[in-house]
Symmetry: C2
Subunit: 653 residues, 2 copies
């Protein structure tokens, strides 16, 4: 029976090249995997053409999916949530517009049109659309590099709309060209570091309104802002500071309450509007503006004026505008997609990344025609929307209607709203972006990611938002390249009583097989790492031989077994590695054995190996176990190995 | 007995996290693998300090390794090879200097000092040091962008020496900082395409001297050169053309002969010098210069004048000079290292890449102090050197002495040498750089590499040398990133009669296991690919379920088995993938099972998985076989699966 067991496990299985595929077929598959991993057309498969038409329409306009079976009960919950986010959207809209150095009213415009567009095109049910802090900050700071918002406000406005247009164009084309994976390069680590940094930058900017300083630096960095704060102490207005402090406390408390009890979401949701109302009344009653409390001032009434005639596609600032569009576009896109995915996962429905990009992009293009600046799905507001029980995108419609009413009739009421309250609202909103526990978590899991995060954070605070980001992205790409240029090679050993071979450092019980050096290569083999792999493998052999000398082993190295299960690919440089290895091994009288080369790999090796040097049947095996078994039985070495060899196999049974 | 076999293979082996290592230890190991893969200090291990000193000196000055046992017989063969390469180096030196728009004599200077330096520092025995075509071409063309070599020849010369200095500095620091792997990014494919392109560019430049055109374009590209050739047909000098044609034929024949019979290496090696002598005599006899045959003209005599006072480290052109230094530096380095490795492999000795870089770099720095421009180990000349039987770097010394003699006494003889012959020599030299078979080979093995090669080739011809290179490098890095953002996921099946599981598309005999979806992921899981992997895996599941519906299978999916042997690493984003998968699978009532997570991976998963959701002992297995065995025995599904499950295992014995 033993012999029976033995015989079976000795008969090794052939490694065959995969079934032939034409280059075109391969190319098609590769392209499909690259651009259509989600296989969007699967639902159209074998359907009648009318059905296909309907499905197509629904694909383009998700509204058609849910509107047919929209019910009153759904509408009820959508109304509640819609009004809730409206009460949040109005003060935030005004505040974020100021953050972007734009007239406050633009913030309200941006909370009116885009939500309507999204309601038709968007596939997320919880996204609350509107301007967001980070995109506003970045747009403001980037445009301010070339044009002063106070000095030449019209041009500044035109540039803002134009960059919004480019942002939308960029987002939509990312979706259409199925290049959504580009935003994946803003990794979790980067985003956490970046958002924390941005939150700090944003809060620092608010010191102007919170302290009532009139002459404030135009720069963003930590140092310039701080110095300008403490060089203008004489401008600090104590009324403003007192007022700001009270409302900041009030808002933070509200936020804290809602965080403790999600049921009480409306506390933090309503707080901003309440504080706006109270503070406005206060200022109005006590003529605050005479006590040095700066107020918004007159705002014109009426709906979004058209702005397509304000778009600039030529002139000196085109470069800046495009750059701003790209960066704000990718930032707002990242936030929007992330929010969408988060809540989709919570409620267990799917949002199609590329479709979302088209929706958000188109929304911004339309926005740029109707006096809106960059908008997307905001984290904070969507959370409120979700807690308030939003069921469909109708809540966005409700919000935008409420904003419309405000624009038409309620604008005069904001005339006396003090800027200090807006500052307090922004600070409370962005403080949530600083996520300490997540940072600690990253430190625990992956130190390199932590460095990336830190780079993003410090880069944003001390250099600039876009450069900080670029630096962090560069670092994380460098890590990928480093993993490829310096792939791990580990020595495998036999786990006693089995024919399993595993990493010797990892599984302490694993034992070496005399005469065999078994290495597993853990990366694709290509131009970037052949030199390293060649050197490293030869060093493994030297170490092996040294060791043997030390322990006065007779049995010398006879087989170098390369376990290739983790080598997902080789390129033309990669195949030369095997030729060179083969040569240098022959000089040492060592045989090269390859185990489980994957489909593409064996294919390329066969093609490259005319001399049939390293892809002969007798040095290709399907598992290390089989390789060792059939080789040690054929081993010419001292009989002792022979016995050990077989004995180990027998012990398996 | 069966039951015995069965029982053993059923008892599964635990996946344990690897033995604890402190972050510092890990960091140290990582750094060592990155910067010291060849472990240069191993030879110093446990040696007495005097020995260590000797070894250290020998490490810095390889000359000390071979000089002690240098013999007369070695010297004999070195003399022969030395004289042979000298006869090649002198005409080539003059020609390449003209290629770089430098005075011809600089080419000879560069064949005198650097070889001496290399003989002391270099570790290759076959490298023949001197100026090379590509570096000369690139330096000439880049510097010409800002300074005209004819108009302001002194400044041009100064810039050339300065860029040589920077090239050397860059090369040496690459070696000292152990960043040698940077040159690996010039993959084989890129080099083949680039060299072919460069060869064509260089040959095109020679049309000026071959046709005797006086007013030639200053540009490099194919189109401008061709147009300038055919717009100046009236300048074509028929004497020149006739002469050029004859010598070109002569040289090509000689080259062909030596390629057929390596024994006759001296034919092609001597041919250039012979043609220089003949042509010079011809011109001198028939007063050729009066028939419109342009000649080199007067050359001053004497050895290299010092040039450190000519180095420019400030002023308008510093940027250009540094850029030129970097590019020529990396190009010449690549050629030098490649040549060194090639012949080291042939003769089976080792050249230490980083050490070579220091040697070449230092050689160029010294060169820049002594009126030499960028030099390195030349392909053609080293081949001749090797064939001529060079044994040590002494052949370089012999060559440099010969050049010295020429510089001291023979310069006047070159006065009447016609430029057309130099042109012919260059063309013959660079034609060898066009390697059609290698290109075909690349096409056969890897289509993407072929595209990269083509990019380099066309880029160099039509855009510019450096941009063509940059483009190609960018493409090949993009490929690496693409492989990471779109990793392969393949479905595994059981190879009948074994507990081996392999790719179903690859091994047609493999069969699916009912109730199991077994996927293998073939790349590290990180921020760049979690979104894709998530979508892709869910699609696998959908496909699986559809299929079952079609074939009216009762047994529904119960286990998703992820074979992770090829997942060399995860990062913080990577671990979230498993959390999300776990959640979405639970909704489908499918269990997530991980097989053979590698050391680093299981470590990070454990750390990230506080809830112990996806790293419980009962969903971690060492092999797919064991996972399937013990899970199907525990399977709650229809008894049929149960039987199949066990039956398959029994069939193994």
């Amino acid at each position: 029976m033993d012999s029976h067991c033995l015989q079976i496990s000795m008969e090794a299985h052939k490694v065959v090249p995969p079934p032939r595929k034409s280059t075109l077929v391969k190319l098609r598959d590769r392209l499909k995997e690259t651009f259509f991993p989600d296989d969007p057309l699967r639902q159209f498969k074998d359907q009648p053409w009318q059905r296909k038409l309907v499905l197509g329409a629904q694909y383009l306009f998700p509204v058609l999916q849910w509107s047919p079976n929209y019910s009153l009960s759904l509408f009820k919950s959508d109304i509640v949530s819609g009004l809730t986010i409206a009460s949040l959207a109005i003060p935030q809209g005004i505040s974020y517009a100021k953050l972007a150095n734009l007239p406050p009213i633009v913030g309200l415009y941006s909370s009116f049109v885009p939500p309507l567009v999204y309601a038709v095109l968007g596939s997320s049910r919880d996204l609350a659309v509107g301007p967001v802090s980070i995109a506003s900050l970045v747009m403001g700071s980037m445009l301010r590099q070339e044009v002063s918002p106070s000095g030449n406000s019209l041009l500044f406005l035109q540039l803002a709309f134009t960059s919004t247009f480019f942002a939308g164009l960029f987002q939509a084309s990312l979706g259409i060209l199925r290049l959504g994976f580009i935003i994946d390069f803003l990794s979790k680590a980067i985003l956490i570091g970046f958002m924390a940094g941005a939150a700090i930058i944003v809060s620092l900017q608010q010191l102007q309104s919170l302290l009532g300083i009139r002459h404030f630096t135009k720069q963003m960095g930590l140092i310039p802002v701080m110095s300008s704060v403490f060089h203008n102490t004489h401008e600090w207005s104590w009324h403003t500071i007192a007022m700001g402090f009270c409302f900041l406390v009030l808002l933070l408390v509200a936020r804290h309450v809602s965080m403790r009890k999600p049921k009480l979401f409306w506390v933090s949701a309503g707080a901003p509007l309440v504080s706006v109302i109270i503070s406005t009344l206060l200022v109005f009653a006590m003529k605050g503006q005479n006590h040095g409390i700066s107020i918004i001032g007159k705002l014109q009434q009426g709906l979004n004026p058209p702005s397509w005639n304000m778009l600039h596609f030529h002139g000196a600032h085109l470069g800046l505008v495009i750059k701003t569009g790209l960066i704000t576009g990718i930032l707002s896109l990242t936030e929007g997609i992330a929010v969408g995915r988060t809540f989709a996962a919570l409620k267990n429905y799917k949002v199609d990344g590329n479709k979302e990009m088209m929706a958000i992009g188109f929304m911004n293009v339309v926005g740029s025609f109707t006096s809106c600046y960059v908008t997307t799905g905001a984290f904070s507001r969507s959370a409120v929307n979700h807690n308030a029980g939003a069921k469909t995108a109708v809540s966005n419609v409700v919000m935008s209607v409420t904003v419309m009413v405000t624009l038409l009739f309620l604008m005069p009421l904001f005339q006396y709203t003090p800027n200090v309250v807006l500052g307090a609202i922004i600070v409370t909103a962005v403080i949530g972006l600083i996520d300490i526990p997540a940072a600690c978590n990253i430190w625990n899991i992956d130190k390199y990611d932590f460095i990336v995060m830190l780079t993003a954070f410090l880069g944003v605070i001390f250099i600039s938002v876009q450069q900080g980001l670029a630096l962090a992205v560069g670092l994380s790409i460098f890590k990928i390249l480093l993993q490829v240029t310096r792939p791990k090679t580990v020595m495998l050993g036999n786990i006693p009583g089995t024919d399993i071979y595993r990493n010797l450092d990892h599984y302490k019980e694993a034992v070496k097989r005399p005469g065999f050096l078994i290495l597993s290569i853990e990366a694709p083999i290509n131009f970037a790492n052949i030199t390293y792999l060649n050197e490293r493998i030869l060093r493994w052999i030297e170490d092996y031989e040294e060791e043997e000398e030390n322990i006065k082993q007779q049995s010398s190295l006879q087989f170098l077994v390369l376990e290739m299960s983790a080598v997902s690919n080789v390129d033309t440089s990669g195949v030369t590695l095997f030729k060179e290895l083969k040569q240098s091994l022959e000089k040492k009288g060592v045989e090269l054995v390859l185990v489980n080369p994957l489909a593409e790999v064996i294919e390329k090796l066969k093609r490259a190996d005319e001399g049939n040097e390293f892809t002969r049947a007798d040095n290709l095996y399907l598992t290390v176990g089989e390789a060792v078994a059939s080789l040690s039985s054929a081993m010419k070495g001292s009989s002792s190995n022979m016995e050990e060899g077989t004995q180990a196999i027998v012990s398996h049974y």
